[in-house]
């Protein structure tokens, strides 16, 4: 063949042509590789790192929340019972780029989780339609067992992430006080929100070269790790059995009085510790996402201020006593009505008409005119004046702490409202006349309880608090000391004088069952508050019932504030709706040995 002259040379030449082309291509490749690997190295190195180097937040384990287990365990965290714990569950996510057969992935995952395959597929299909989307959450709260089965499917693009979820061994108890942890791991409402930082701890940080699923590669160097620090456990001042009983009493009362809502606070007046705090309606924090009306998340006892009504008169009287303008023995002539700024202010029908009245009568008969008279005395007597308004304002805001948050460890605490002594020119005397009996100003149950505590404990305002101690990850306990906000809210003498007056008031009200005042000291004041209409004026047929009182032995040991919103059981809301709740709470405390009887 090679000896065929013209034909023989051609094939060999043509082999060389292809070989030459090949050499040229290889040379071109080498030039291209030089460009990619040497000239453009930085660019591709950065592209690689932007894909491969991932920075992770290592979630820290959230602290537990505990509460006291009953009488005898006060002040020590030893007998604390957990009310909020953590459960490690998993979240299943998909990287749509790697999902080839969404229907199969969806049905296989649904088979394991018991979920709905078509829902999963919808999620996947939707995620796959979004260009550049690399993350879609498929299922949440998957157990360890289910997670392992899903991992065993080995679908590319399917991953799991450990997540901590809150569990509530005591069920819905103290829900609004506790709050919940939302999907993003943030504490919402209640203690969870107020102490989010402490509970959450410090998340760790991991910077690492990872595989495509984000798993750090062992072979890569330069991974940096800062371990997470667990959050602190929080031991509440709350007494769990007391809380449970309070919730029961309040729920029953809201039902029998057909109240729209109800709140109650039981506070230790000598430390500021909240022993129990409840609201109706409430919710289950384990299923917070099922709640339709978000307002139920609020702890109304700290976040819903209302015009408190006549229970305020206990504090007005204490202020007048402390200001020295009246004494427990003072009597005065009550005209049964006052004309203030052109408005005629009267009492309720059962006031007995005009006549000489004692200080105790003002509280017992709930004389609006008596409270206004006390306000007039603070200004020097005769009429409501600037001085009287200023003194009373000073008591309300600076002594009793109204109009500003108490600082209790709760999310969304409300300030309430107190009008300034020089507000809105004409009509301010009328406004102030109203404040003397708990209208035209607002306060929350916890503000009322804190002010009352200072009045009955000898004159010290303790900041209301829910945290008794914190325990860090190493087990070190830090006890929270009572926080004194102000000494001398009222003098010790006034404090000792007001207690028997309030005992007298409850005795005169013939509550049933009656309290044995020889062994226990129980006192308080009702309030039937008008409800402001939006746009001015007050509702005609709806009232709020409030009660502010104490239960104790030689000294008051518990201050109790009760708010019942719009009860429909007839009678004055304070007497018919709120007072029975206070009475039930008082007996509950006594019957369960929470109260130390008189010596």
């Amino acid at each position: 063949m090679f000896d065929e002259g013209r034909n023989a040379a051609q094939p060999i030449t043509r082999v060389r042509i292809w070989y030459a082309v090949l050499i040229c291509i290889m040379a071109l490749f080498l030039v291209r590789l030089f460009y990619l690997q040497v000239i453009r190295y930085e660019h591709y190195k950065n592209s690689a790192l932007s894909d491969q180097l991932k920075q992770y937040e290592i979630p820290s384990s959230r602290g537990r929340i505990l509460a006291h287990s009953g009488p005898g365990n006060d002040g020590s965290s030893a007998g604390a019972i957990p009310i909020v714990l953590n459960q490690k569950l998993y979240l299943v996510y998909a990287d749509p780029l790697y999902i080839k057969d969404a229907a199969k992935v969806a049905s296989d995952v649904a088979r394991i989780t018991g979920g709905n395959a078509s829902d999963y597929q919808k999620t996947l299909d939707a995620a796959m339609r979004v260009k550049g989307n690399r993350y879609a959450i498929l299922v949440k709260k998957v157990s360890e067992d289910q997670k392992q089965k899903i991992v065993a499917l080995k679908y590319p693009g399917l991953g799991t992430q450990q997540q901590e979820y809150r569990t509530y061994p005591q069920g819905a108890m103290a829900a609004q006080l506790l709050g919940f942890v939302n999907d993003a791991g943030k504490g919402s409402y209640g203690i969870e929100e107020a102490l989010d930082t402490q509970l959450k701890g410090t998340p760790g940080e991991l910077k690492a070269i990872t595989d495509v699923h984000g798993v750090p590669l062992a072979a890569s160097t330069g991974n940096t790790l800062k371990p997470a620090q667990s959050g602190k456990d929080v031991v509440l001042t709350v007494d769990l059995p007391m809380q449970k009983r309070l919730e029961q009493i309040l729920a029953d009362a809201a039902k029998t009085t057909k109240s729209e809502s109800a709140s109650a606070v039981i506070m230790d007046p000598n430390t500021g510790a909240i022993k129990a705090m409840a609201n109706v309606p409430t919710y289950d924090p384990a299923k917070y996402y099922e709640v339709e009306d978000g307002s139920v998340f609020n702890n109304a006892a700290v976040s819903h201020p209302i015009e408190v009504g006549s229970s305020m008169k206990a504090l007005t009287t204490a202020a007048a006593l402390d200001d020295g303008v009246v004494t427990p023995a003072t009597t005065y002539y009550d005209p049964s009505h006052w004309k203030v700024d052109g408005f005629n202010i009267t009492n309720i029908e059962e006031d007995g008409g005009a006549g000489n009245r004692t200080i105790a009568d003002i509280l017992n008969l709930s004389l609006n005119t008596g409270a206004i008279w006390e306000l007039m005395q603070m200004g020097g007597g005769g009429s409501i004046n600037h001085k009287g308004r200023s003194v009373w304002y000073d008591y309300m805001v600076n002594h009793y702490g109204f109009g500003k948050p108490t600082g209790i460890e709760q999310g969304y605490e409300a300030s309430g409202y107190v009008p300034g002594p020089d507000d809105n020119g004409a009509g301010i005397d009328l406004t102030y006349a109203n404040t003397s009996f708990g209208q035209a100003m607002t306060a929350t149950p916890v503000q009322m309880a804190a002010a009352m505590s200072a009045v009955v404990n000898g004159g010290t305002y303790y900041q209301p608090r829910l945290v008794d101690a914190t325990v860090d990850a190493s087990g070190k306990t830090t006890a929270e000391a009572p926080k004194v906000v102000r000494h001398g809210v009222v003098s010790t003498k006034v404090s000792q004088e007001i207690v028997p007056i309030l005992q007298y008031v409850i005795d005169k009200h013939n509550v049933t069952p009656a309290f044995d005042q020889s062994r226990y000291s129980v006192g308080g004041k009702t309030g039937t508050a008008q409800i402001a209409k939006t746009g001015g004026g007050y509702l005609d047929n709806d009232f709020n019932g409030t009660y502010l009182g104490f239960v104790g032995g030689d000294t008051p040991q518990y201050v109790i504030a009760v708010f019942m919103t719009k009860p429909k059981n007839g009678g004055y809301a304070g007497t018919a709706a709120a007072q029975p709740v206070f009475v039930n709470i008082g007996h509950m405390l006594i019957n369960n040995s929470y109260v130390k009887a008189k010596n």
Partner: protein, 452 residues
């Protein structure tokens, strides 16, 4: 040579006077006892193959943790399987080196039938959704890529056919040469490039390799350039017709034209990640155990994308070495082709050169963003048993051919002055003696000087 082709030959021989001229020399070349001068075979061919196999094995071994993690197999799974494949390859290599060339030439028919059956079985086998472009035949625990057998069968058949058509001087004849070739190409396109409506992806990459192999063989055999150009034009039209109606292929082409958007799109993802792997390797590479892209970023890390992983690990220096080894290997093939004792063996060697070089060019070109991704392996380097076994078989045939050098009669008309120009100082070859005793005959290269 099959009886069918013989039939053509007899016919043409009778009809065409030109063919009778080549008759005597053909008889000499066909006789295996007269296959040119026998000498020492080209051991460099084998050494270079082994070097590439070892490089591939090292890369597969180094990324085994990533592969086994993704697939849930043991760490040694991939290396073990590849070692078994290399073992089988050695058997295939020895067999093809020992079976007389004339017998191999006759084997084209059973090979084609076998490849056809395997391809049909693969067509009927459900496509693995993870590798839609790869068609597998599963036999017990083994899976087998039918297209690799097809490449080998077409190599032998095309070499035989073209050698025969060339011998009778009918290479440019439409009826007897072009038409059968076009029919073969048509059948090939239908069964390998495949009906796109039935399969998510058809094996365009392998089709391209086979067509390029046939075209280069036809070109070297002496096919008139006009005919080749016409064939290339028809093919270009076919490619456009194949790309335009398929959304998938259009996306791939678009992705190729706009590589910057690639990483966020399914179609351009692999190409983009391949560029990142290559580029981030830098001058000297990340190191053997330091590849990151193999951990799920770059799809097909052990197969189609192995070059990019190699480039990431060993950098520009490493790829220069690898391309050097490849070029050395291709240059051995070129030399063997040039001194091949007859047309058939030369065309076989050219076919192997075309097959492996086109496959390497398409594969590497895709990895460095110069060509669209085609989903084919890098010969010797990529993980995958079938490919290695059939490539080894082809190299085995070449190795057998490398034992021989054509005996050339110096002819003044061609300017061949063999006695003056060969490296052996003008020694006359003695085809009756073993080449091992004639070291100078090891690199006979008369062709390079034949144009002088």
């Amino acid at each position: 040579m099959g009886p069918g082709v013989r039939g053509y030959q007899a016919q043409n021989g009778a009809q065409n006077g030109r063919s009778s001229r080549s008759q005597p020399s053909r008889a000499g070349a066909e006789n295996s006892s007269d296959l040119g001068r026998r000498h020492r075979p080209d051991y460099w061919l084998v050494i270079l193959c082994l070097m590439m196999l070892v490089i591939g094995l090292i890369v597969v071994y180094a990324i085994s943790p990533a592969l086994s993690e993704a697939a849930g197999t043991s760490q040694t799974h991939y290396v073990t399987k590849q070692l078994i494949a290399i073992g089988l390859s050695i058997v295939a290599f020895i067999a093809m080196a020992k079976i007389p060339l004339s017998v191999i030439r006759q084997m084209y028919k059973p090979l084609l039938v076998l490849a056809g059956i395997a391809t049909l079985i693969a067509l009927l086998t459900p496509v693995n959704p993870l590798y839609p472009a790869h068609r597998w035949v599963r036999l017990g625990g083994f899976s087998f890529q039918s297209v690799e057998l097809l490449k080998f069968a077409i190599l032998i058949a095309a070499a035989g056919f073209l050698a025969e058509r060339s011998r009778v001087g009918m290479l440019g004849d439409f009826k007897t040469t072009i038409k059968p070739l076009l029919i073969a190409v048509g059948v090939l396109i239908v069964i390998v490039a495949g009906p796109g409506k039935i399969y998510a992806q058809s094996d365009l990459g392998s089709t391209a390799v086979i067509l390029a192999m046939m075209a280069i063989m036809a070109f070297v055999a002496g096919m008139p350039l006009k005919r080749l150009a016409a064939g290339a034009a028809i093919l270009a039209i076919a490619v456009i017709l194949a790309v335009v109606p398929s959304t998938y292929r259009r996306e791939r082409v678009t992705a190729f034209l706009h590589p910057d958007q690639g990483c966020q799109q399914a179609a351009g993802y692999q190409a983009c990640q391949a560029l990142i792997a290559v580029g981030s390797g830098g001058l000297s590479g990340l190191g053997l155990g330091r590849s990151v892209q193999a951990y799920g970023y770059l799809p097909e890390a052990a197969n189609d994308s192995i070059f990019a992983i190699y480039a990431e690990k060993f950098g520009f220096i490493g790829v220069t070495v690898l391309l050097g080894i490849m070029v050395a290997f291709f240059s051995r093939l070129k030399s063997i082709a040039e001194r091949a004792p007859d047309a058939f063996s030369r065309l076989v060697v050219v076919g192997v050169l075309a097959w492996l070089s086109v496959q390497a060019v398409i594969n590497i070109g895709a990895m460095i963003g110069l060509l669209p991704l085609k989903g084919i392996t890098l010969p010797f380097i990529s993980y995958g048993g079938t490919s290695v076994v059939f490539v080894a078989a082809a190299v085995g045939v070449v190795f057998q051919i490398s034992y021989y050098t054509a005996i050339r009669v110096p002819r003044v008309s061609q300017g061949i002055r063999q006695a003056d120009n060969t490296n052996n100082g003008g020694r006359v070859y003695d085809n009756s003696r073993d080449g091992r005793r004639q070291r100078g005959a090891y690199h006979p290269n008369p062709g390079s000087r034949s144009r002088a």
